[in-house]
């Protein structure tokens, strides 16, 4: 009997949504000749869509991206945290303000919880060349209350 109960418990935990064990599918953000960027949402509540228009290891400045998501929080203030790892060791961490009360950089700043957002436009990045290798990137967007707006685990494969 005990064995049966344990099996049921395991089944319940393992079933999608029930135990929160399911993860979102991995998507391709871009795939070029020598660069491939894959990402997976790490927000347990929802997935999101993201793509980069141009994909090469020589990263152009001011890239255009496309981004679609449902907001779970107000974003009068929005911050991006980025952590870059290679072979398990941390290479780079930085935090970037996307929307601030005194400087809403993008037109979507100030949109409200529940709104669906589609952004196609520049991200104002620097241009540089990505060295050959495999990188893990964790990106997190959060608002003024530190509530998660979006979260992604990305893999960058550069050959």
């Amino acid at each position: 009997m005990k064995g049966f109960t344990a099996a049921l418990l395991l089944w319940a935990l393992g079933s999608p949504r029930g135990g929160g064990g399911e993860s979102w599918p991995t998507h391709v953000a871009c795939r070029g000749g020598n660069l491939e960027v894959l990402y997976q949402s790490c927000d347990p509540r929802q997935d999101f869509g993201f793509s980069v228009d141009q994909c090469s290891k020589q990263l152009e400045p001011n890239l255009n991206i496309r981004f679609g998501i449902i907001l779970r929080e107000d974003i009068s203030e929005l911050f991006l945290d980025l952590a870059l790892f290679s072979q398990g060791s941390s290479i780079l961490n930085f935090s970037f303000p996307v929307c601030e009360a005194d400087l809403p950089k993008f037109s979507f700043c100030g949109r409200r919880k529940g709104e669906q957002i589609y952004y196609a436009g520049p991200v104002n990045n620097l241009g540089f060349e990505i060295p050959v290798g495999e990188y893990q990137v964790r990106l997190e967007l959060y608002n003024q209350d530190h509530s998660t707006v979006a979260c992604a685990n990305a893999t960058v494969l550069c050959s």
């Binding site: 400087l103 809403p104 950089k105 037109s107 919880k113 520049p122």
Partner: protein, 661 residues
């Protein structure tokens, strides 16, 4: 047992349907007992029975309610705030809120509304805020007008609205905020603006609408609290349309992702007859910034030129005589003198934060700003070896100075002599180089707040804080003390009027008993994120009614003689310490339970020892160390009884033996 097995079997057989039941069994979060509940993201199809009838604030977003009608919320008649964001609502039927007389806010953001019945919003006596953001509305007639007399804010952003003509019977008398963000409005007619005539102090938001035309005279003699035309591509058209209006705050900024035209003097010509108090032009490009650029902004009090790609402002700008506040943040000045401050003689607030280039403070660049009260030069890569008397020359009325997040500063004795009126000085995250025995803050008689967090201070300099008789709030977060200890004689000696002291993350191992002996007025002390042990509490023994933060230290045991010191304080945070939950700490554990009302961070205050109790909340620990004494007592009684029994047995045995001889 059989029924339980049956239930399991049913669960296996009807996996899917059972899951829905389990999810609706998921509890809403109680934020305030009987009043405030959050039921978001639970996949609910109805109001759960577990919610009390007294619920007033209900966050019910991201559930599933295709139809809402008068039975949907009928039980919760005390609702004042109802958030139904993205509940896939298609239909709002008749009399849905009929019995909800207290309701003042309804949020319907992100619902694909097909139809709202005429009486769907009837019932609430004071409906003040209605959110219809991104609900697919294309005509304003869609909104039922019957119960909107008290409406103060109406949010209609991200819809398909192209005309802002309100229906004739639309009540606007109490309206303060009308939000049309991200719609398809290209033209504003006189009729539409006239329909808003009854509203006073109205704020209108047209952010994200590309306005291509305003009917001449539409805003004639109208008064607005604020108007937002953010992201509009043709500013000249908008400004011409605003002629003869009175506007407190006009937001005309643009964005990274918006194409816009360069601004010239001609762009602003339309404003010559308009009265504006505050204007924002963030992220625009100026084409040949001439001195006559703002000649039409007579009477302007606040000008925000954040991130407008400026490298300098021309000298002799006209029409800025009454400007009180100027924001030049996120531009590219190389030297402070390039802002040509003399054009703004009345300036009281100046913000140049986040300059994109290394900013050189120069000499006497702001000396014409005699009325300056507030100066923010943070995040601008400023580096200076001898600050700040020449740089801040003649700023004798300055009250607020922010120099945080800059490159290394060298400070001499009396470094702020030019600003004797300073009340707040923020130097956080700016490396300060102060020579031994020097007192850079000397003679700041009115300084109340000093932020020196992460300034890499030489804390062994006993004179560092000399000459601050009125200092109430001192932040020394992240500075290091010699040997990780604050000794009896330390840099805090001259600041006897301190009320708030932050010493978090200072890598402290110990604090001398007498270290704070002259700080009798303290109300709050933050000692979190150090490596202090229980003994450091001794240094607070002469203080009463303090709020003390001792979180994330190395406190294991708090001995009996220190408990009165804790008892006399008002709040105490001891979370994230490796606290001992054995009998050697029993006095503290008993005290803890008796003083729960004073303690903060109860959830994170857990035992580290013994291993069996690791991670258990201190408030849940039941230790009875007196059991040994009681046990001994019972043991003695038991042994005593056993002896008596033995004696009786022997007696009985002997008697029995004698009887049988």
């Amino acid at each position: 047992m059989a029924s339980r097995v049956g239930c399991f079997l049913l669960a296996v057989l009807f996996g899917a349907s059972c899951k829905v039941i389990t999810s609706s069994d998921l509890m809403c979060t109680e934020k305030e007992a009987n009043r405030t509940y959050n039921c978001e993201n639970l996949g609910l199809r109805e109001i759960p029975d577990t919610l009390p009838n007294t619920t007033e604030f209900l966050e019910f977003g991201f559930n599933f309610l295709p139809t809402i009608q008068n039975t949907t919320f009928s039980r919760l008649i005390n609702l004042t705030f109802l958030d139904l964001t993205r509940c896939q609502i298609n239909w709002v039927h008749e009399d849905t809120f009929q019995n909800h007389h207290q309701l003042n806010t309804i949020v319907l953001t992100g619902n694909p509304l097909i139809f709202m019945a005429e009486t769907s919003l009837n019932g609430p006596k004071l409906l003040k805020h209605l959110f219809l953001t991104q609900t697919g509305i294309s005509h304003l007639e869609f909104i039922p007008v019957h119960n909107l007399e008290n409406l103060e804010s109406l949010h209609l952003g991200s819809n398909h609205i192209s005309s802002i003509n309100l229906p004739e019977n639309f009540p606007t008398r109490n309206l303060k905020f009308l939000d049309f963000q991200n719609n398809a409005i290209h033209y504003i007619s006189s009729k539409a603006i006239n329909a808003l005539e009854q509203a006073t102090d109205l704020s209108l938001n047209f952010n994200g609408n590309d306005i291509q035309g305003i009917e001449p005279g539409a805003f004639n003699l109208k008064t607005f609290q604020s108007l937002n035309f953010g992201g509009t591509s043709n500013l000249a058209v908008v400004l011409k349309g605003l002629q003869n209006a009175t506007i407190q705050s006009l937001w005309l900024g643009t964005f990274e992702d918006t194409d816009d035209q360069d601004l010239t003097s001609a762009t602003f010509e339309g404003l010559c007859k308009t009265s504006v108090e505050s204007i924002n032009l963030q992220k625009h490009h100026f084409n040949g910034f001439s001195s006559s650029m703002f000649r039409c902004f007579t009477g302007l009090q606040e000008l925000d030129l954040t991130a407008t790609h400026l490298q300098e402002l021309p000298s002799g700008i006209e029409g800025m005589n009454s400007l009180k506040k100027l924001v030049l943040s996120a531009n590219s000045f190389a030297q402070l003198c390039q802002i040509n401050a003399a054009s703004f003689p009345s300036l009281m607030d100046l913000y140049i934060k986040g300059n994109m280039k290394k900013l050189d403070l120069g000499i006497r660049c702001l000396e014409k700003l005699e009325n300056l009260r507030k100066l923010d030069l943070s995040h601008s890569d400023i580096e200076t070896s001898d600050c700040c008397n020449l740089q801040l020359k003649n700023l004798s009325h300055l009250q607020y100075l922010n120099l945080s997040y800059n490159d290394p500063f060298g400070l001499q004795d009396q470094a702020f002599k030019e600003c004797p009126q300073l009340e707040l000085l923020d130097l956080a995250f700016t490396h300060l180089r102060v020579k031994a025995l020097q007192s850079p803050f000397q003679n700041l008689h009115l300084l109340q707040v000093l932020n020196l967090s992460r300034c890499l201070l030489d804390t062994s300099n006993q004179h560092l804080l000399a000459g601050l008789p009125d200092l109430r709030h001192l932040n020394l977060h992240g500075n290091h003390f010699q040997g990780g200890s604050i000794s009896k004689t330390n840099l805090l000696q001259p600041v006897g009027s301190l009320e708030i002291l932050i010493l978090s993350s200072c890598d402290l191992l110990s604090i001398d008993q007498q270290a704070f002996h002259n700080l009798g007025k303290m109300r709050h002390i933050d000692l979190s994120h150090n490596r202090l042990t229980g003994d450091s509490i001794e240094s607070l023994s002469h203080l009463k009614g303090l709020s003390v933060n001792l979180a994330a230290n190395n406190i294991r045991i708090i001995p009996l003689h220190l408990l009165p010191t804790l008892s006399q304080q008002s709040t105490i945070n001891l979370s994230h310490n490796p606290l001992d939950c054995t009998c050697s700490n029993i006095h503290f554990l008993t005290w803890y339970k008796e003083n729960l009302h004073k303690l903060e961070g109860l959830e994170e205050t857990t035992c580290a020892n013994p291993p069996l109790l690791r991670g258990v909340k201190l408030s849940d620990v039941e230790l009875s160390c007196r059991i040994t004494a009681v046990g001994i007592f019972f043991l003695i009684v038991f042994v005593f009884l056993l002896i008596i029994l033995l004696i009786f047995a022997v007696k009985f045995l002997l008697r029995w033996k004698y009887q049988h001889i």
